[in-house]
Symmetry: C2
Subunit: 356 residues, 2 copies
DNA sequence: ACGCACTCCGTAAACGTTTACGATACTATG
DNA sequence: CATAGTATCGTAAACGTTTACGGAGTGCGT
């Protein structure tokens, strides 16, 4: 006899079962949508669970069925990332969740501490079986994490492409496309000496961008000059530094492509200091459109994309590589480059007439 | 006899035990630093665990001892947050982790999906017992989450103070101090009509800031004018809107204090459009120093603080309210306002001579 | 009346760990 | 030598679920 007590916090499935005068097995089956349970009792169970606020204990569940219903997103909160990502991760996360939530999967973010090796951190998380699948980001040129996850047989996908030989799912921004588009545009405006920036750290996207740049130049029959590839931190300060190095060159480039939107701020400042005006004396093309670079005068030419949709794509790619969800997202191609769209500004809107 | 096989992934403590010819109880005790185990065998166990890469399964462990060794940080990735937080959370997270890691606690971030009610989301996470303790942020004026966590007897702390009657641990920026300092400074420069911005959403910090503003005015014997408290979104666009509204006022203020650094960008732009120059025609004081507002000309007067250290403080406050760690961090005061330091710029560096 | 298929539900065994308890061997003490 | 105490370890019972298995009841055809 239920005494209609106030809805106190549930202790476990056992209590819920005896509240209903049903065996715990039936309760479990009812909650999990198993077929062999009367539709009538299922309703009763669901109602009681709702009323008493019962939710299955995650530890018990995952211990039994070996699955956590959790997807982990590992992020490195290195100083550089924190200062420059411009909420990159939070935006992508929104897209990821919109897919995962459809399957009752919860996304958790796993921030690797600054003072811990990302590999060791991931190893710990994997061994603890804290998540069913992983998304990793900021992949390095040689990244042991791929092997780690593969050996542990944990499905994973990377935010950012792989350059090592290992074949695995990823989604990444189309650096190639950006480099091509930017260079096409600059060349059409008469530029021949075009510099680019590339990150100081050993991160994949730097190589990809530089490679796209090299090939685009080749396509236009322009010689590749290593002096024009400038390594700098991906920050406002880095942009300042890039400008500084450009000004030091004896044979100055007439255009520069930045790999981080933020850099434009510092670059503008340094250029202004030297009385060189972007869009008049030098052409500047930024990478990703960002709210914080919108104020720049003259307006920065850059590229726009939906990071939310990139997240959606990445989530689907990941699920398609998980046996339990493969039939829902039967992707054949699990490696995607995500397009960006040119947003023309004024920072490169001038034609080169004579040399120099 | 161990055959010196390759270190394959461990199946469980059982395998590790029979590898060592020891009972699983002893292995567990050895790994967990229990006293009643021979120092010699402990070394053997630790060595074998290291070599075979054994890490205790989290589900089994938490099921048994009812603890997860995980601290959850709930964040709402609402559009507004994403665009404006300027990596606020990632920075605070660094501070949090530096404390937690000392106690083998892992921090995970729980991003509440946009389309889910934060209360329901937290309820789910709590019921699943995914973490031992919680940190919540963006607390509302009336926030049911406090009661939820209290009833569930889950230790928690808030990033951002509480305004409801409930007594609970929090750490927050010193909005009062900022309002006081800003107004003192402005009044010293001769200003009497001073406007402030406050968030459009029902978030606590808005009320705190407005209240500090009101009291500071009172202290200087300046009448409070509700028309000078302008609600706007905490973004660049919001700043533009604030400027717009200020310009519309018949009796224009001579100074304005912004609650988000980003707003300064939009405000500057709108002011410039109206040929009103910050630092000459109107005094502008920003709130938190931010890399992305550094470029502003004239330089924005604002306030600096270490979000990392705020995270450290918050972590210690949380731990002090957890029975297991209380003896390590015996805090008496679990509600802290975190100081900010004035960074004088040019945006308010003029003295008012005559009225208007 | 009998067997069979089907629906629904209870029972109990897992999942991997920690830990209370008791057992054993050894040492010190009387 | 008997006894108590100590150090070390093995045993088994939990923790809260899910799920394979089997049993009870029902309906139906022969």
């Amino acid at each position: 006899m239920a005494h209609g007590g106030t809805p106190r916090p549930m202790k476990g499935i056992r209590q819920l079962a005896e509240h209903l005068d049903i065996s715990i097995g039936t309760v479990s089956r009812a909650l999990n949508g198993k077929p062999d349970v009367n539709e009538e009792t299922r309703k009763r169970v669901l109602a009681a669970a709702e009323q008493l606020g019962y939710v299955a204990n995650q530890s018990g569940r995952s211990l039994r069925q070996g699955t956590t219903n959790v997807i982990g997103l590992m992020i490195q909160s290195s100083k550089e990332t924190v200062e420059n990502s411009d909420n990159f991760f939070l935006t992508v996360t929104g897209g990821l969740q919109s897919v995962f939530s459809r399957h009752n999967l919860d996304l958790i973010m796993l921030p690797c501490p600054n003072d811990e090796d990302p590999y060791e951190y991931l190893k710990r998380m994997v061994a603890r079986r804290i998540a069913d699948a992983m998304i990793i980001s900021e992949t390095q040129r040689v990244d042991k994490r791929f092997d780690l996850l593969a050996k542990a047989k944990i499905p994973f996908a990377a935010l950012g492409r792989s350059l090592s030989g290992t074949q695995h799912p990823w989604a990444d921004l189309d650096f190639d496309g950006v480099a091509n588009c930017a260079i096409d545009r600059l060349v059409a405006h008469g530029h021949r000496r075009i510099a680019i920036s590339t990150p100081a750290s050993d991160i994949n996207l730097g190589f990809v961008f530089a490679e796209g740049y090299r090939r685009a130049l080749e396509r236009h029959g322009i010689a590749y000059d290593p002096a024009l590839v400038i390594r700098a931190k991906s920050s406002e300060q880095g942009g300042y530094q890039v400008a500084d190095e450009l000004l030091r060159l004896e044979d100055r480039p007439t255009a520069v492509i930045l790999i981080y939107e933020l850099m434009a701020i510092g670059l503008y400042r340094r250029m202004m200091e030297a009385d060189i005006i972007p869009g008049r004396d030098i052409a500047v093309v930024g990478f990703r459109e960002a709210p914080r670079a919108k104020f720049l005068q003259p307006a920065l030419t850059c590229f726009r994309t939906s990071l939310h949709d990139l997240g959606v794509e990445l989530a689907e790619i990941l699920l398609s590589s998980m046996p339990a969800y493969n039939h829902i997202y039967p992707k054949t191609n699990r490696q995607t480059t995500w397009p960006l769209e040119l947003v023309p500004g004024e920072s490169d809107a001038f034609h080169l007439t004579a040399a120099k």
